[in-house]
Symmetry: C2
Subunit: 154 residues, 2 copies
DNA sequence: CGGTAAATGTTATATTGTTACGTAACGAGC
DNA sequence: GCTCGTTACGTAACAATATAACATTTACCG
């Protein structure tokens, strides 16, 4: 019943899907895609990832999209709708937040992406439902501009 | 210096760009695209608009995208990043909000889009900048789920 | 071992958006 | 009237993003 896992690097028992020690319980393609995103540190499009992984045997977009789907399901990669790009979650290790809404600030100068899931953010999202009766299933909150460093130094 | 306006339907003097009486100061293509979006009442993709306007002489995506760019600049059409679609602004007439951040709730069942620009929303956006020093230039806030009617009735 | 589910590989296609180029309409000023 | 700059329009080609369809391989488990 367990999904395919790479035999080479499997560690001990699996405690909980989201509690896996990443980089060990991923399949080869998933590890490659996640590593590419982590190394980049900034968002990458699916086709940028594809180009980065040509030497590792990637030939078609679907290989990237499939890995991204899995990684998003695990909550360790997020999609930025306003850029058609993907970014490694900054809390990939502690996996604390799974299906919870997340917001992003995206610096247009240095590319840094920061995640927002503080109390104010949750209150904001919940407030919308409370007032209008809207039942939120999926939230997209992406704020683009200049981060403190780029706004100040420039 | 004035941009081209349709000679046939121009009314009186132009008070302010954003204060134009819509449907009168738009060019032919802009009126067609705006009318298509208004009639639909729900978001349409650029290619759906193109198909709707074939009989009116539209033949290529660029005709749609150019009109959409203008209409977005006027603030009477918004782009929904999470859907790659466009929607007529529900306040197209009073044009009150121009470059200000707007959020959307999008019902996945009936397609209804509602706009959010209340005080809580503005406070939320401003709060992000205040805490982190991030200078927001453009916000994308799209909350998808079920509206009150669809959530209750279903 | 054999069955099953998941992951993979490959080709083709669908969808979304842009570049490049040329034409036409309009107002401003000479 | 005339050119000039600006804006809109038309079309073809292309680039970027994403999915469908189908066959094959891999890992797990009984």
């Amino acid at each position: 019943m367990l999904p395919r896992t790479p035999s080479a690097i499997t560690l001990g028992p699996v405690f909980h899907e989201a509690a896996q020690s990443l980089t060990t319980e991923l399949t080869k393609n998933q590890r490659l895609v996640f590593a590419a995103l982590t190394r980049a540190g900034t968002p990458l499009s699916a086709y940028q990832i594809l180009d980065l992984l040509r030497d590792d045997g990637f030939r078609a977009p679907l290989q990237v999209y499939r890995a991204l789907d899995q990684l998003r399901g695990l909550g360790v990669v997020h999609r930025l709708e306003s850029m058609n790009a993907f970014v490694a979650c900054s809390h990939a290790e502690d996996h604390a937040h799974h299906g919870e809404p997340i917001g992003f600030t995206i610096c247009e100068r240095c590319g840094t992406v920061s995640e927002i899931h503080d109390a104010d953010f949750r209150a904001f999202v919940e407030g919308i439902g409370a007032r209008s009766g809207f039942r939120a299933e999926k939230t997209t909150v992406e704020i683009r501009g200049l981060c403190a460093e780029c706004a100040g130094g420039a």
